[in-house]
Amino acid sequence: MPLPRALAAFVAAAAIHSSALAAELDIPAIYFEVGVERPPTLSNLDPVPEDLARAGAELAQKDIATTGRFLGHKYSLDSVYVEPGEDPLPAAREALAQAPFLILNAPAEALLAIADLPEASGALLFNASAPERALRDAECRANLLHTIASHDERADALMQFLTWKRWTDLALIVGPEPADMAFGQALRRSAAKFGLEIGAEAAWSYDTDLRRSASGEVPLLTQGLGDYDILLVADETDGFGQYILYNTWSPRPVAGSDGLAPVTWSGALEQWGAAQLQGRFEAAFERDMRSEDYAAWLAVRAIGEAVTRMGTSEPAALRAFLLSDEFRLDGFKGRALSFRSWNGQARQPIPLVHPHALVTLAPVEGFLHQRSEMDTLGLDEPESACAAFAN
């Protein structure tokens, strides 16, 4: 991007016309990643990008820096990576000494440990990676907001669609990893919530190379599931899900972690101005934008939007604004995004996609809520045991 030709003029002009907002501010943020050993995957097609999540934060940093340029707000974004197996807390302390805003890409336990640091008590942390229910429930933390969609939101989005389609008889295959089981549990809960029936279940336990044997193994496994409308797959670590499609005994569609997938974000989105965000991301990072990228992007954009509107870099004031009804962020999903005041979860639509197209965007039409239709997805206020946000 060419340098502004009249930077001083911009700033001066901004000072005249939005004087309340134009105080010079420094807003340092840090993207903090705790590495994890990922279980091996069979497929070589879809490796996890090294800059997953970080790329989204960097893109948003560029976006808000442009806005800041007009207002005299200086944003910075540093990046910290903790090797798998290392203790993340010393690095987190150091990061918090430099910046009160952390965008976290870390497993749930690490998130909680960082949020519980004394140094983090006045900071504002964003979870851009961990979908676990507990973090939005009894284990919530007042200084931890969540921009990645939870397992529950994703499961509810899928169930709303299935209800609307009247595909009500379900079967489920759950993988062996903890993440698979957690998503499987969310699918069960959500099916019960929307009155759908999971008739039969199977646990995935094969350890063969499915690329060679899927056509033999999967029909046998799915034959035992009886009759159903759609087969749900909980395979959050890409262990086997992609080999279920078209290998089932009955000619039935697949949804969940593979097939029709509820996600925070996907390269298949192009409506609501998303094509422009995708274009900027692709140009900068030469790949599709994924859910974790979007979650980190959303976190940084939320910081920027709050600073722009409030004219302060004070974390407590920004947190209060982010959780208020006044906060509305354009997230390229067709509706204003905000945060739930009871557990800090981003309130956002959930796209249901397959790799090449959007199928629908939940909340699905007809699922109503007294506050916002988006609150039909995930833990609603009366259901959440989160107490840290109570005052």
Binding site: A6, F10, A13, I16, T66, F70, T308, D330, G334, A336
Partner: protein, 324 residues
């Protein structure tokens, strides 16, 4: 949709009179996903011509004498110039990448173009076909307006959430004013005393005093049974008498009639799905709305504020402009 018989009869009568056909003129509509322009005869309310243009046509505007029409062909990265009489493409203008909306300076020469992907506003001289200036603006510039006295050009940037005020004599920004989320469209009132800017995700229209660029007020919308998230103001137009602003509300599928004095909404008019932009008939009696998802144009009777008819056009109609 209600269609009182009496009004239909009146309409039919009006259509029979050749003089009114002259004064109603044509409405040109860009079809974003068909790469065409549909020309509607505002007297007969029929599509009389469909003109093939560049890829993803969006913004559309006529030269002062209506002999030429400029079209933002966004995915062709160009502004096309057409002969309005024949529909023939005369030439392209260097527009910068991904032009979405633009505005013509009252000098009839300088076209201010928003380059959505480049965070730039490009100024093109339509006679020499040269780029006169490029101005850095916020991320995803979209809405463009030039004041009637030619002094200011306005660019709104969707991600930066600002209206940037460009002094057209210096071609540089003199002020940046914050608006609500995702500003899409800007217009000056006829006397240039106010600038209005719609915010799609913010769900508001912000009104500025041109003289000191201060905020005068905000138009807010509320419809029973429609969640505020779905009320997304995009295109808008002032009535010829200046008393009413008609605001297209996107996925709320309505056009709001706003009192320009009180900034209160007086009425919501049902139109097709995903309404984008508006154009008045040349005589000001009818308002045409482009409805993206339903692929049609709704004709609204301005006096009674009733929808009269839906006209099928191409896929995803977006921009609209009037030719007398």
């Amino acid at each position: 949709m209600r269609r009182p018989a009496a009004r239909l009869a009146a309409l039919a009568l009006a259509c029979a009179l050749p003089s009114s056909a002259m004064s109603a003129g044509e409405i040109w509509v860009t079809n974003e996903k068909d790469d065409t322009v549909s020309v509607i005869d505002a007297a007969t309310l029929e599509v009389t011509r469909t003109i093939p243009v560049g890829k993803r046509p969006r913004g559309i505007i006529f030269s002062k004498d209506y002999s030429r029409v400029y079209i933002c062909a966004s995915d062709s990265d160009t502004v096309q110039v057409l002969d309005a009489a024949t529909g023939e493409i005369l030439h392209d203008l260097p527009s910068g990448e991904d032009p979405e909306q633009f505005a013509l300076h009252p000098d009839d020469r300088h076209l201010y173009i928003a380059n959505e992907d480049d965070a730039l506003a490009t100024v093109v001289d339509v006679e020499t076909r040269q780029v006169v200036a490029q101005i850095d603006v916020g991320i995803e510039p979209e809405g463009m307006a030039v004041s009637h006295d030619g002094r200011y050009a306005i660019v709104t940037s969707e991600t930066t959430n600002m209206a940037h005020w460009i002094d057209t004599s210096a071609q540089s920004i003199v002020a940046n004013t914050l608006v609500d989320s995702r500003p899409r469209h800007a217009e000056f009132t006829a006397d240039d005393s106010q600038l209005w800017v719609s915010s799609e995700i913010g769900g508001t229209v912000t009104v500025f005093n041109t003289a000191d660029k201060s905020e005068v007020g905000k138009v807010r919308f509320e419809m029973p049974g429609v969640h505020p998230d779905k009320i997304q103001p995009v295109g808008f137009k002032f009535s010829p008498d200046g008393k009413t602003a008609f605001v297209a509300l996107g996925p709320a599928n309505h056009v709001a009639a706003v009192n320009t004095e009180t900034l209160e909404v007086e009425e919501y008019i049902l139109v097709g799905r995903r309404v984008w932009h508006l154009a008045f008939s040349a005589d000001g009696t009818q308002l045409f709305s482009t409805n993206g998802v339903s692929g049609d144009v709704t004709v609204i009777d301005v006096a009674s504020r009733e929808p009269l008819k839906s006209i099928k056009v191409g896929r995803f109609p977006w921009g609209a402009a009037t030719r007398p």
